[in-house]
Every structure is written in structure tokens, then in C-alpha cells.
Amino acid sequence: MINYSAKIKIMLKKGILDVQGKTVENALNSMEFTNIHNVRIGKYVELTVEAQNQDEAKKIVDQACSKLIANPIIEDYEISLNDNKGE
């Protein structure tokens, strides 16, 4: 088995109002950052997964995301995987 590290970015789907992002944007705009727009806030998850190969690792993480880590009704997620050989 190989240990793969996964980095998962979770964002609200496009078109769903991100009230948190909007509030931060308003705060920024009320400061000196009047040129900042489209603030969206998501979640970032790191984890290690044991698998035979990269494909299997990806499949496991994808299932974990769709079952628990993200809510597919309102969130999209992106997974990036690395084996830990270089570390």
C-alpha cells in the first residue's frame, strides 16, 4: 500500500449566494480595497489515504467527498493527489 496525500478544495456551487464571501467583500470594499470583487469562501481539507495506486486513492477520496466531506447539493470539490515519495 502507498500513502497518498490529498488536498481537497470545497466551494459553494456557482450561482449559490455565498453570504460569508459577500460580507467579507463588503468589509474589504469599506476599507481601502475598493478594487476587490467576487469574494468567495470555501473549505480546504488535507488527508492521507492508503491505496494500491493513484486511481484507487482518487476513487476513495472522491467517495469520501461525495458521502461526507462535501454536500453535493450545494458544493463542488476538487481533489489533488500526491504520493509522498518526494517528501
Binding site: 453570504v19 466531506i69 447539493i73
Partner: protein
């Protein structure tokens, strides 16, 4: 009839629900612990109470949904058993896919804690049959994530099947933006599943069940179920 109230780590309305059933509705009630793996066979209705199960970590209800007792609650519901999810309990029910849609952060970002008015849209359910037809319910809410969201197809199906049970409204029963406390689509405050045995609602009927508190509108929901099963 006999109720059970599920206690998750972080539930904080479990004792209120227990009290409302035992002392206000005068029914038998027991607790079920989140680690329990069996629902006693004499239980007619399970209440998933309000609170912050598992600290609301990741998303409200997301972790609770995978607790041992929830696997039993899911099979209980799928066999036609009655389930009421209140506030955090509603969030758990959507995460468990026993009810469609999801509850997002309030559009105001505020934690809203106040009485709201509710219009009942469907009086022919196990949970609403004792509500007088013209009655506008006044029931408290207390949540930061009660903003009901579902995609258009899901919303349309809910509407077409009379599954939208409660809408936020004003004192006169008018459903409008001003009476929407959290940004819920179509002012949705409570829905049932297609088969009518699972209710999820953000307002807290157990907090409006005792005469001492000056409001017993919430008791009508429990009385409806008792009436249905008696």
C-alpha cells in the same frame, strides 16, 4: 403512544423535547443515545432534537448523520416510522437524505433567535391535522443555518406533492420577504417526505408547548401525531 428523543453529543434541546412530550403532551418518552444500535420495538415516533450535534463540525448534521443510531433511524423511517427533526434535527434529516434539500447559513449571517409566524400549507398530515385551518402558528426559531435550499426540480416536486408544510409568514399569514428570517427559498420553514412520515422544521415546537411559557402552538404538532396514531 411512545416517543424517543435522540441525544447526540452537542444536542441541547433534547431535555426540552422530552419535557414537552412527557409533561405537556402526556405521552411516554425515552432517550436514545447516539451510540445505541437498536430502537425499542414499542417506539412510535423518534424526535431528533435541536442543538449542535458533533459541534456542527464540517456542516450542521453531517457527522450526526453517520452515528450508529442514525442508521437505525433511517431504517425506522424507511419502514414508515414517524420521525420529527427539529432545527439541528432537520439538518440531520437532510444530510441523511430522509428529506430533500439542505440548510445553508442564514442569508443575514446572524444567529436568529425569536418567535416567528408560520402558515400551514397542508393540514392533512400526521403532524398538522389538529391545527385549526385559519390558525397562524407562533413558534420560536433559534438557528444560524436555517436557510432552506433545494434545486428547482426538487422545489417543484415538494410543492406539487404538498410536502411544504410550513412557511414563514407575518402575523396575518402573508408570506413575504420581510417575514423570512433566514433567506429560505419560498419561505420554507418545514417539509415532510413523500410518504408523510418524516417532518423536518427549523422552528421549535417543544419550546411552545407549555402554558407557563404563554404559548402552546407547538403542542398542536405533537397532538396531531397523537391523534393520528390513536
Amino acid at each position: 403512544m411512545k416517543f424517543a428523543v435522540v441525544v447526540f453529543p452537542g444536542s441541547n434541546c433534547d431535555a426540552d423535547a422530552f419535557y414537552a412530550i412527557r409533561d405537556n403532551a402526556n405521552q411516554q418518552v425515552q432517550y436514545l443515545w447516539h451510540k445505541d444500535t437498536k430502537i425499542p420495538t414499542n417506539i412510535d415516533c423518534i424526535i431528533l432534537p435541536g442543538g449542535f450535534s458533533y459541534g456542527d463540525y464540517l456542516r450542521s448534521g453531517a457527522i450526526a448523520r453517520f452515528s450508529p443510531i442514525m442508521q437505525e433511524v433511517i431504517s425506522f423511517a424507511n419502514k414508515g416510522g414517524y420521525v420529527i427533526g427539529i432545527c439541528n434535527g432537520f439538518q440531520v434529516l437532510t444530510e441523511a437524505h430522509l428529506l430533500p434539500g439542505t440548510l445553508m447559513r442564514n442569508n443575514t449571517l446572524n444567529f436568529v433567535c425569536k418567535d416567528v409566524y408560520l402558515k400551514t400549507l397542508n393540514f392533512n398530515t400526521a403532524f398538522t391535522n389538529q391545527i385549526p385551518k385559519e390558525k397562524i402558528l407562533r413558534i420560536p426559531i433559534a438557528h444560524g443555518e436555517g436557510n432552506y435550499y433545494a434545486d428547482n426540480d426538487t422545489l417543484k416536486a415538494l410543492w406539487d406533492n404538498n410536502q411544504v408544510v410550513f412557511q414563514y409568514c407575518d402575523q396575518n399569514g402573508t408570506v413575504n420577504n420581510e417575514s423570512n428570517p433566514n433567506g429560505s427559498l419560498m419561505n420554507i420553514a418545514g417539509i415532510i417526505n413523500k410518504t408523510g412520515n418524516v417532518l423536518g422544521m427549523m422552528p421549535h415546537p417543544e419550546r411552545a408547548s407549555d402554558n407557563l411559557l404563554g404559548n402552546t402552538d407547538g403542542l398542536l404538532i405533537f397532538k396531531s401525531l397523537i391523534n393520528k396514531l390513536s
